[in-house]
């Protein structure tokens, strides 16, 4: 393996061969993450687009089907994610300032709240499962006995579309959360091994951007899926 010629005099062990300086490497990594988030925006944008059209086509069915989601869980999860975002932001700050101990604690807090979110999500999915509201499993889908859906196959189909969007969007979001938690565990392990210092903390920074993005997606999913029309039964 040929070493690059003209290597920098004080070679930082974290500097990869093809970069000239730590700053260039850091800037590239952050820009790379932003471009990645750009694709993520469009990824969720596609789902929002389809959601928008069907919601405008079947407003009544969407509004009444939304009553099957528990907005209290949704709100709880929003709050949980916001806390995790706060701890993530503080973790990045600690990394900037080279506070290794604080960084590790804050990462653990972030992971904890991320897991809380996933736990709540799992409880919700389980409730839908018990209620036979999971559309992808054939035969479970039957509205005939629920009072808000009289014997109307058509209506049930439209309701099913909303539930599909619900599972599709929250499912993709949950996948992002799982990836995020995995990322945070890796970052924590790296921090624990003392990989970071105030001149090298790129992974913390870009994972933070990712984490906040996943939070933002949820900020939109919450009103779009749980609070359609207006909430009638608040538990």
């Amino acid at each position: 393996m040929a070493e690059p010629h003209g290597a920098v005099a004080e070679h930082n062990p974290n500097l990869r061969h093809h970069f000239d300086s730590m700053e260039q490497q850091f800037d590239s990594a952050t820009l790379g993450m932003w471009v990645f988030l750009l694709t993520e925006i469009m990824f969720f944008g596609g789902m929002f687009c389809a959601y928008m059209i069907y919601r405008s086509m079947y407003p009544a069915a969407f509004a009444s089907t939304s009553q099957h989601m528990n907005p209290l869980w949704g709100a709880t999860n929003t709050a949980v994610l916001i806390v995790s975002s706060l701890s993530m932001a503080l973790a990045v700050r600690a990394a900037h300032l080279g506070q290794q101990k604080a960084l590790q604690i804050l990462l653990l807090i972030t992971i904890f709240f991320g897991l809380c979110f996933l736990g709540v999500k799992a409880i919700e999915y389980h409730e839908h499962w018990v209620d036979n509201k999971v559309p992808l499993i054939g035969g479970h889908w039957d509205y005939s006995n629920t009072p808000e859906f009289p014997n109307q196959a058509q209506y049930a189909r439209q309701a099913q579309i909303l539930f599909c969007f619900y599972f599709f969007m929250t499912g993709f979001h949950a996948v992002h959360m799982i990836v995020g938690v995995g990322l945070m565990l890796t970052i924590f392990a790296m921090a624990h091994k003392g990989k970071f210092n105030s001149s090298y903390f790129t992974p913390v920074e870009i994972s933070g951007l990712y984490w906040h993005f996943v939070d933002i997606v949820w900020i939109f999913l919450f009103p779009l899926l749980y609070l359609i029309g207006h909430t009638k039964n608040l538990i």
Binding site: H17, H18, Q24, V35, I53, I161, F168
Partner: protein
């Protein structure tokens, strides 16, 4: 020192090819040049595979009765031709091969910003290709490359999900390449390489990358929805259970129209390099050519509705998309005019790459102008979904993009391999390609206006004369593509040594040795002049 590529008598400089040996050194490489070579090999395989399907289509259409294969088989042929050519050849072709190899070199970087992601993108591409090929092996897909619902989601009895998975996966390869380019071009330019000095090939690849990054996720999600719909029948695109098939078309074309700019923009970038080098003159109107690339990338997202004028989309939406479709023709026209003007008072060489460039200008002009027919509402009503569209699309893609790709391969072959190809054979096959191409696709314009619908296995007998011409032309075209493949292979071992800069071209990639060393440059170059400054004397060649 025993591999075919290496010959100790001739290539002495340390380069990316002789840096390491063995299959592991290729499959685990992080060198953008080696990854580009991996891509060249894979897309060549896909190109010939897609070409075989094209040949079978043309053979079937020789007679109007549909007597060679049955209709299901024919439908699978054109579907596989489309999927393979669009998603596994045209989209990755120039960015992932020539772009991968030369974008870092042209801006004076040692590698792309994320070499491991670059390698990952190749593996993802291969996984996607394997999905698509397994769909072929299992029995094929018959939806057309456009996967229109509800046919694809409900009615087709073929391996739609497998093929859609292939396209979905390959999309991520495209996204990662685009991401890598954007960051590289922003952050890795050599000192002095300002945006105003970037070679136009880099500008074109930058614009392409923007489309890849912004558009591909939408088609990924759309195909995921089609897969879900097909597997579980959830009703998103099926009108029988409350869905709307037109929404699929909107979401599909949101990506797939800009995707044709993913295919053609890098070709335009190659063109700018060829025309300047073989006219030995800076490009006419550099700023306009550069800006038109970005213009195409942006406006390209505003025109997708012209694929849907007869679908029952709103009349007013049709009006909107029609007007903007004309607008996107302006930057393309600017490019054509500027290349032509560049040749004015140049010193024009007839080397093979320039022959391909001449071909590109001519064929792309026809392809672009016939696009205007399709943007004109009342005419589109008649010609959409006929062979007119097929001809227009192939004029832009084969006459434009593949011409540019071939030109680029000939142009940079000496840099990539250190060897020259045989000029006589190359000129001959360039001529074959041009003649064969026109013979294949020009008659289809007429057949299309006569009303021959596309994707027809059997057709009305009065169209036969045009189809006979097409099939004859396709034969010539096929030979025109096989000859270069043979002599390129030959030149790897027997081609004359090219030297560092056989064309006396400008550009950082020509200032390093051929083939380039692993990190491209002995020392990071410092750029002091505009792109294509042919009037200023050449720097002393270093290296060797």
């Amino acid at each position: 020192m025993s591999t075919v590529l290496q010959d100790p008598r001739t290539i002495e400089t340390p380069n990316y090819l002789n840096a390491e040996y063995g299959w592991k050194s290729w499959l685990f490489t992080k060198d953008h040049k080696r990854i580009a070579v991996l891509y060249i090999i894979s897309i060549t395989v896909m190109f010939f595979l897609g070409g075989i399907f094209a040949g079978l289509i043309r053979l079937e259409l020789l007679t109007p009765q549909g007597d060679l294969v049955n209709s299901d088989t024919y439908n699978k042929f054109f579907t596989m031709h489309g999927i393979i050519m669009v998603f596994f050849f045209l989209i990755p072709s120039i960015p992932a091969t020539l772009g991968n190899f030369f974008v870092p070199m042209m801006i004076g970087a040692k590698d792309l910003a994320f070499p491991r992601i670059n390698l990952l993108s190749w593996y993802i591409y291969i996984i996607g290709a394997l999905f698509a090929l397994s769909a072929v092996v299992m029995g094929g897909v018959d939806t057309g490359w456009t996967f229109y619902t509800p046919f694809s989601s409900t009615f087709s009895n073929t391996f739609v999900i497998t093929a859609a998975c292939g396209v979905f996966v390959a999309g991520f390869s495209s996204i990662l390449t685009g991401l890598n380019f954007i960051v590289t071009i922003h952050k890795m330019r050599a000192p002095g390489m300002t945006w105003g000095r970037l070679p136009l090939f880099v500008w074109a690849n930058y614009a392409t990358s923007l489309i890849q990054v912004l558009g591909t996720p939408v088609v990924a999600i759309t195909l995921a929805l089609v897969g879900l719909e097909r597997a579980f029948h959830i009703g998103i695109f099926d009108p029988a259970i409350g869905g709307d098939p037109i929404l699929f078309q909107h979401m599909f074309w949101f990506y797939s129209h800009p995707a044709v700019y993913i295919m053609i923009l890098p070709g335009m970038g190659v063109m700018s390099e060829l025309v300047t080098c073989f006219s030995r003159k800076g490009v006419f109107g550099y700023a306009f050519v550069a800006a038109s690339s970005i213009g195409i990338a942006v406006i390209g997202f505003l025109v997708w509705g012209h694929h849907m004028f007869v679908t029952g989309m709103s009349m007013y939406a049709s009006l909107y998309f029609s007007l903007l479709s004309f607008l996107v023709a302006v930057p393309s026209a600017i490019k054509i005019f500027n290349w032509t003007a560049t040749m004015f008072r140049g010193s024009i060489s007839y080397a093979t790459p320039m022959l391909y460039a001449f071909g590109f200008i001519g064929l792309f002009t026809i392809g672009g102008l016939t696009g205007l027919f399709l943007a004109t509402l009342a005419v589109d009503v008649h010609v959409t979904d006929t062979y007119f569209v097929v001809a227009h699309f192939h004029y832009v893609m084969v006459g434009g993009m593949v011409m540019a790709y071939m030109g680029g391969m000939h142009f940079w072959w000496p840099k990539i391999t250190g060897r020259m190809y045989p000029e006589g054979w190359a000129k001959f096959s360039a001529l074959l390609v041009f003649v064969g191409f026109n013979c294949t696709f020009f008659p289809q314009f007429i057949a299309g206006y006569l009303g021959q619908p596309r994707r027809y296995h059997a057709y009305a007998p009065e169209f036969q004369v045009y189809n006979v011409f097409s099939t004859a032309g396709a034969t010539i075209l096929g030979v025109g593509y096989i000859i270069p493949f043979i002599y390129f292979m030959w030149s790897l071992k027997y081609g004359p040594i090219a030297g560092n800069n056989p064309w006396k071209a400008k550009g950082l990639e020509w200032e390093t040795t051929s083939p380039p060393p692993t990190y491209n440059f002995e020392t990071t170059p410092i750029v002091t002049e505009e792109a294509y400054a042919y009037a200023t004397p050449h720097k002393e060649e270093h290296g060797g």
